[in-house]
Amino acid sequence: MWRQLFWRTPCLTSLDSFLKLSMPETIIKHASKTAITLIAFALVFTTLLAYVFNITKAPIEKSEAAARMALFSQIVPSSMHNNDMLKDSINIAPNDLLGNKQTSIANIARIDNAPAAVILEATAHDGYSGDIKLLIAIKYDGKISGVRVLTHKETPGLGDYIDIAKGNWIKLFDGESLTKTSDANWNVKKDNGQFDYMAGATITPRAVVKAVHKALQYFETNKDSLFAEKETS
């Protein structure tokens, strides 16, 4: 009876078949063949990936730079600068107000060497999924010239209306400033603030509003050093 019971236990059945198979040469031959096949496939496809990555690297960088410049001109119109904003940049050490964990780049817009606006990179960590990277253009007088979402991993079709491609929500920030809107109002309407949002996706706009607010605070406290540094660069 015990034997019968054991016989029906799946793990013993497989052990039994294992023992049958366990003639060393069979197992080694079989395992090595399987392993070599897997390695061969991994090698071939890794090579393919490396090759494609290499040939697409330059076009991707080029199109990203072009896309970046196109993005810059959306938030800093050509009437506000006559310098090359891509080259006119300073490095900003990581800090909490901008939410950046790595050194970020601030691009400066000038008209005849007089500072007109600064484009800050900011990161919101409290989005619905993953970080939301923002570009925030702030004019010399502290007013927002424009905000754009660089990258995000928010739910497609739900939280992604922060992207200008999916909606005009992000334009709510145009012309906002710390003086125009009180600290308490820098919130989505659900949190008694003044910023609209779409029901079903509150976490995303909340994170963006917070990040823009903090970026303005950063600009306010670091305005002098930012502009001093700009003069020397």
């Binding site: 897997l38 991994a42 079709g157």
Partner: protein, 224 residues
């Protein structure tokens, strides 16, 4: 030739991945908030499926049964990454629209399912056709579901088509119901479930209707 006709029929109707096999429900439910979203992801999936089936079929005899799943996943993931990189490098505007969706295709079980059940047993030409037709069948379901949700949720059709195909298509956006305030339920996830349920019910009804006259009206009970 009849084999190919059968593949086409299976992909589009008899074995439709969206409403019969119920595979690939993740994108079906998540991205079908508009026609353009649904159709774009559907077409991208169709391309990946054709490529994956076409890549697996020629090597099917070299892959031992024990490691076929890791090998297939490797092939699918590599192909999707290649397509993603190529689109990013050479078709930046398209990447802006489809960029988030393409990596999602890797985890879509419909791709692995067709590789495993069809490409691993058939020659390359039918395998590629099967992948593409299954993808096309999914595209139809995604587009119709997207259309239903967009129409009920926002009162428009084809919104966002200018992002996918260029600004020239802007006039194609149809505002079917003017001054519509939106019915949020259709856009939210429950709307996806309800819409899909209606589509599956329709498919079953139409399928039953088509087969009924063929069945003998005797004492045989129809099997489920």
């Amino acid at each position: 030739m009849s084999q190919y006709t059968e593949i086409v029929e299976n992909g589009l109707w008899k074995q439709n991945p969206g409403v019969v096999q119920l595979l690939g429900l993740c994108p079906t439910l998540a991205v079908t908030t508009s026609v353009v979203n649904g159709a774009s992801l559907g077409l991208a999936t169709a391309l990946v499926m054709a490529a994956a089936n076409g890549a697996v079929s020629p090597v099917r005899k070299f892959v031992p049964a024990e490691i076929r799943v890791p090998v297939f996943i490797l092939v699918i993931a590599a192909l999707v990454t290649v397509i993603d990189l190529a689109i990013h490098g050479f078709a930046e505007p398209l990447h802006k629209v489809l960029g988030i969706f393409i990596p999602l295709i890797v985890v879509n079980c419909i791709v692995l399912a067709r590789v495993e059940s069809f490409a691993a047993k058939n020659t390359p030409a039918p395998a590629m056709l099967d992948g593409f037709m299954m993808g096309l069948g999914l595209t139809f379901v995604l587009s119709i579901l997207g259309g239903i949700r967009e129409l009920i949720g926002k009162g428009t059709l084809l919104s966002g088509i200018d992002l996918a195909f260029g600004p020239a298509f802007k006039p194609w956006v149809l505002t079917v119901i003017p001054d519509y305030h939106g019915f949020l339920l259709a856009i939210l996830p429950p709307g996806a479930f309800l819409g899909l349920a209606c589509l599956i019910a329709f498919r079953n009804w139409a399928g039953n209707r088509a087969t009924k006259p063929v069945q003998p009206s005797g004492s045989l009970k129809p099997t489920l």
